[in-house]
């Protein structure tokens, strides 16, 4: 059997999953009474609401099949978050300058065009700008390079 490729169907699946996870986790929180609502009341109600929405979308998606428009821009979808993660890791272990260089060059690599010379110049320029603006002018307390 082929999976339905409608936008609404997958929206529904996603919401059901999120709602179910929320209810599952929140089952351990005290639900409370109407008078004294516990920590679990709001999450469980919201989880159920999300599941109901999900169900409605999934059913709608089986009937009507408006496809997802445009492309998934897979390259940007993967590379851009990775550049961010690299920034986070390098900020902790290597310092501001390497983190900035990795982030700007990494971000540029997410675009459809990658010109090595231009990207290098851009990364260096942006890094210098940010060092001047954030570290020297605004005084953010990050080491430029760890251990130096």
């Amino acid at each position: 059997m082929k999976l339905p490729d409608s936008k609404d169907f997958w929206s529904g699946v996603m919401l059901i999953a999120i709602g179910a996870v929320a209810v599952f986790i929140a089952r351990d929180y005290p639900f409370g009474t109407a008078l004294r609502m516990g920590a679990g009341f709001f999450p469980v109600v919201l989880g159920v609401v999300l599941m109901l929405f999900g169900l409605a979308f999934a059913v709608r998606g089986l009937r009507d099949s408006a496809k997802i428009e445009g492309n998934w821009s897979l390259r940007a979808l993967i590379v851009l978050p990775l550049a961010f993660v690299a920034f986070g890791v390098l900020m902790e272990h290597a310092g501001f300058v390497p983190a900035m260089l990795a982030l700007t060059a990494g971000s540029a690599a997410a675009g459809p065009e990658f010109r090595i010379g231009e990207v290098l110049a851009l990364s260096v320029l942006l890094t210098i700008m940010c060092v001047v603006l954030f570290i020297w002018a605004l005084g953010l307390p990050y080491p430029l390079i760890v251990g130096m």
Partner: protein
Amino acid sequence: MDLFHNLIFGFGVALSWQNLLYCLIGVSVGTLIGVLPGIGPLGTIAILLPITFNVAPVGALIMLAGIYYGAQYGGSTTAILVNLPGETSSVVTCIDGYQMARQGRAGPALAIAAIGSFFAGTVGTLLIALFGPPLAEVALEFAAPEYFSLMLMSLVAAAVLAQGDMAKSFAMVALGLLLGIVGTDVNTGVQRFSFGITELSDGIGFIVVAVGMFAMGEIIANLGDPEERSVFAAKVTHLFPTWADMKQSIGPILRGTAIGSFFGVLPGTGPAIASFSSYIVEKKVAADPSRFGRGAIEGVAGPESANNADAQCKFIPMLTLGLPASGVMALMLGALTIQGIQPGPEVMTQRPELFWGLIASMWIGNLMLVVLNLPLIGVWVKLLTVPYRLLFPAIMAFSAIGIYSVNNSSFEIYLTALFGVLGFVWTKLGFPAPPLLLGFVLGPMMEEHLRRAMLMAKGDPTVFVTRPISLAFIIVTLAIVVVMVAPAMKQRRGEITG
């Protein structure tokens, strides 16, 4: 007179040189991002929020507000000159504005857009000054049930009036509410959805969600569908509109201002709805509707006034009730909270300099936009030639530093990346992002008020309909649902049976 006295006080605050500088920075950045497509006021304000930590609350709000209404100006400039709406609110301006430019009347189009916006901005400022204090006075009487009903009303209105699929907007509101409760429950101390991660026990950072969805998610989408940007800029020769132009524009400016002010206080409506409605009205009342689409100056004057009036009046519920009527206002509310100010009707009495200073600065900012921007139009248009591939790494860099500087935490950087991906996927699936942000901001407050109301009423849920003000909000909520949802259901049934 009180109003007069208050406004003088406000101008005193806004005219200090620091605040003038913040206002200038705000409107310049606003114009800049208004001109550039692919980055809107939501993303920009989210990115700049952390930088405002070190600024006094008044200055921070003045600057952020400047970005917001400055973007409306910038958006119309590119709409008229290069047929490219920098912001969604200027889509309508393209229709007749660009035609005017092609007929060699770019100058008058730009000028009338600026004049209309300035007039609307002035009226908007006056409206806030007039209606803010009495509204806040009423709101001071609100207890938990009223607040809960009011928030329910604004969330429902936001979901119903948002652009796109209504059911999906509702789902996003619910999702936002759910995300909002991550962290330690204030009443019982129970850790909710924190998965044993210490960073999550304070909840998900507001900036993390906003930057992830509105900056990174947006960039991912833009990189996927690169748009052709052919810059064919019309030459601006003479700026001043003729007397006939002015006479033709007075009516549209007045009507546009009224329409924009009306939509402004409604939650969930963006400036785009106001400008679009104004365009339709102008076309209806015109003696010769066929001129529209061929360079009718009314088609520029009306919508441009409407979107600016809308932008200004969005501040009314935010400042008086602590209620965000749009995504940008949710960010403003976030900015207040970050500064340690509890949003609500008390702001006006406890921090009068904040309220009146902001109002006065908005008028000053509008003036700056007219005086500074018309001569600088050439510069802004040149900026359009900066390719996006050089722009977005810079946006990413500012975002990352901004988020990291909040808590010096790499974890929040990773979380932002996650929300970037989620934001992109949700948009792809047809879920509008702003309702999620509203739910996220209001979630904890709503839960708090619900629990307090139930305690107050000893567990009796009828408390929401037995108190008159709360009942009024509930009735309005139901009315919105009936008016907006019923036709959609009918249409749907028609589609299925027919």
